[in-house]
């Protein structure tokens, strides 16, 4: 098992967090929604895993490439 850093693809603000610590997440499932460019952009993971850490909160600004969560895969 290795820990994977989940990064935001876009600069924007965290609109909704959809997962909680310890939750199992399927590949392609959204962890959270970032509002950017007037659109709702989900943060998804490529490989299934377990959410171990959230590094942002709802309403917080994020920049492209910022680590928003850690997932054990």
């Amino acid at each position: 098992m290795s820990t994977y850093e989940v990064k935001s693809d876009v600069t924007g603000s965290v609109w909704k967090i959809l997962t909680r610590i310890g939750q199992r997440i399927d590949a392609g499932e959204p962890l959270m929604i970032i509002e950017s460019m007037k659109m709702e952009i989900p943060v998804v993971i490529e490989d299934a895993g377990t959410l171990v850490e959230l590094r942002v909160a709802e309403g917080q600004s994020v920049s492209e490439g910022q680590i928003v969560a850690l997932v054990d895969i």
């Binding site: 693809d9 876009v10 460019m37 007037k38 952009i41 490529e46």
Partner: protein, 519 residues
Amino acid sequence: MNQVAKEASPLDEVMREYEDRLQKALAMGGPQKMAKRKGRGMLNARERIGMLCDPDTFIESGLFGTSSSNRDDAEKTPADGKIAGFGKINGRETAVSANDFTVMGASSSSTNGRKIAHLKQVACQRGLPLVFLGESSGARMPDHMGARGMGTLLGNDAAQYQRLRETPWVSATLGHSYGSSSWYAVLSDFNVMRKGAILAVSSPLLASLATKEAVEPEDLGGWRMHAEVTGFADMVVDTDEEAIAAVKTFLSYLPSHNNIAPPEVPVPPGSGAEMSHILSLLPASRTQVYDMRRIVRTIVDKDSFFEIKARFGKVVTTGLARLGGRSVGIVANNPLVKGGALDTDACEKITSFLVLCDSFNIPVVMFVDTPGFLIGKDAERRRAPGKIMNFMNALALTTVPKLSVILRKSYGQAYLNMGGGRNSNEVAAWPTAEISFMDPQFGVRIVHGLEPGQPGFDEAFANMNRDSQVWDMAAIYAAQSVIRPEETRSYLIRMLEVYRMRPTNEAGAHLMHAWPTSF
């Protein structure tokens, strides 16, 4: 009954020697190395060829080749570490090279260099796809050291790394791959990488010596880096078996050479069965995103979408598929990632995919939903104008049929890059399409100087939205068709029939046959 005893012939000894030499040549690196590989779940080079080629079709070229620079190495270099020959893949003749890592790390030498050069020459001249099963330590150092070594071995084949795309080249990176294995991987039209394999210029040891810091193989050239950062891994798999299956599947979409059409196959039952529900895959709100790949899979022949570079430049999805049994190349914006805004990685991904399709007579179908190119300081530093124009130029040089379907957004320069403005042969739009110079949300601010909430914003926004609808575009014949979403599959199959390249017997002009293989 009397039997006549066969008399011993002087030729018996010759044939015994033949059999003895044959066994040695086939032995690869010996039983211990074979067992070690097996324990790690890796096939050996001959097993890989056996899995790739149809049974009993592989005919070897250079089986008795050995090290020639150093005669002392002859005994320990069966087939000189690179197995070469010709085999049939799903009935089609193919040139195949497999590196045997158990023989001096499959390092490149004088003899095996000749074998590979011969294989490439035959493949390109006789119209055969070429497959590299790569795993190599790089150059055979003792042979290459010194001025005499370099003068003898390297630089004697000006076409060694020349790529003119006469036939498809496919690579599987199946282990540590340095030097020539890496070169052929990036020269290929498709490179599948097995997790655990490394693709780099030189080994971690050499890199550590050069940079004076410890270098981890995965950091140097692991699958994640090549799938997500460089794009050199077109596909990533877990096992040798999956990699070889991917090579075969990729080739099934391509012709054997660039002067014929790709093979046609029967249309699988159930193809298009979900078309009546396709509009439900598009969110009702224009601020919501969706996975374009679901729409692509619904439209193309059942289970035929073979995605390429899935983890690289993800704002766009590219892949081979079939429509009505014929190969097509799909270029589709994916709003799921960054709203589908095109970045520089996406430009490179699309450009290389257009080159692939055009080189091998595969029509291109574009599905459009993009708010435009991603702009900003970072994009400019990544040379966005150059990448956007490379993409545009590649599209202009594409001579195979090009069809675009606008599903939702098509804004700004990206409208042209995705086939608008006569850059596709035909543009069809769904009634949900919206086309303008920029998204009305931003257009109102810039054109009218109004912010959301200010008096007049809502009216100006409504006017711009209305003007962005597809109908004005259809009225001036800038969109050739407006179609019901559920008709998209039948429209494309019919239009691909119209645009068959009849005068040239299905071959395009291949204006990009010498385009760089990565950039």
